[in-house]
Symmetry: C2
């Protein structure tokens, strides 16, 4: 099984996803939020690329969520903190979510046979789900401001490590995958510290979201693997 | 001191080099060859972007060197194997060198205040030279076919590690730098194996250049740090 790792949305061309399983990673915070929302019982998450598109998709009873410049959007119900997406807020609801990088990454990968979302919160469950789908895999690190983000690379390395450990099929990866695997293995005991050392982690701390960074550093706390069905992310 | 790490020539815009020291890394094989040539007494190496440009620059007594698709160019004196650039072949000579990625990387960085060339062969000497120049640093991984190459990332991580160890000034790096440092630290005892696991290493082995890959895996065997002076790379 081939596993390609793409360093940021900027590097992703739609052609790379043909006949593959895409795994979208935006640890801080889009995919961590999506996984938390589905885990908490949201009926689905609908990723929207723009604020205007999000508003247009909104129907009575839906929740509008997302961020621009890390902050909640004016008039929206929820921001982009995973802990806002708890059972009380989201159970049974449709969530329209627009974030700077994560939702763009999901849109880029729509040509894939399957699109899964991963973060540190569900890495093992996501690796298992991807193996079951029996396609070559593209791990797409969303990144931040069109640049590589350390937390997404770390998560790609963790998912690769899980794919190898699960041992269903021999895993071959590219040079960037080899690097991300080594990154994860070197930093496995310093996950939170690594998230806090990166640009996104520092920016979130500055804006008062340190607890989000810490919450997103937890590994394998959820079994939920949100999967794209048409335009909707639902429980896999 | 800020140290930025760029993942491939493709990602390098000339604006990123303003007022900086650029360190160009193309472990397999351009910068390993350039360092070997200057170490062996070549008077200078003149990087040329195209075969035609290389031929046009050639004057009596010069050596023409380089590769396309890893192989020696028809009519050229030398290929791109570091061990061809020994004292017997190159002492006192001007070498015109054109390679697929390395020379492009050097041309991209010409706006920098200083341009140094690094490989595993001279990593520590290069880190020392860069510290002495007292500018922020851009480590440019040349990569291969416009993609990240593991051997260049490994070398960037090694140079970063040396910069930190030498401890002249506090070193701050970006997310990609953090990742490359972790890559190096995880693979420090498996340098040769890491080079052989990457795309370039595999391609070179297939074409009969395994001994080049092994030779390029040696760390800190030379003190020479070729530096760009005008259009020429000379002993730093």
């Amino acid at each position: 099984m081939q596993v390609q790792v793409i360093s940021s949305v900027n590097e992703a061309s739609t052609a790379k996803f043909h006949h593959k399983t895409a795994i979208i990673i935006d640890v801080l915070r889009a995919t961590s939020t999506i996984i938390s929302a589905i885990e908490a019982g949201a009926s689905c998450v609908l990723p929207a690329e723009t604020v205007m598109e999000a508003r247009a998709l909104h129907r009575p009873g839906d929740l509008l969520g997302g961020e621009r410049f890390c902050r909640k959007i004016a008039g929206f119900d929820l921001g982009n903190s995973p802990d806002e997406y708890n059972e009380q807020n989201v159970a049974g609801k449709r969530v329209i979510l627009t974030t700077t990088n994560g939702t763009r990454a999901i849109h880029k990968s729509m040509r894939a046979d399957y699109v899964l979302t991963a973060s540190l919160l569900n890495a093992e469950a996501c690796a298992k789900a991807a193996l079951d789908l029996r396609r070559d895999i593209v791990l797409l690190c969303a990144g931040s401001h069109d640049e590589f983000a350390i937390e997404d690379g770390l998560c790609a390395g963790l998912v690769l490590n899980k794919l190898i450990e699960l041992g269903g099929a021999p895993i071959e990866t590219d040079d960037f995958g080899i690097a991300m695997l080594a990154l994860y293995r070197n930093r496995a005991n310093f996950i939170k510290e690594t998230l806090l050392s990166g640009m996104s982690g520092k920016r979130l701390c500055k804006l008062g979201f340190k607890k989000d960074v810490e919450a997103c550093a937890a590994i394998d706390v959820y079994q939920t693997v949100p999967r794209l069905n048409g335009d909707l992310l639902t429980r896999g």
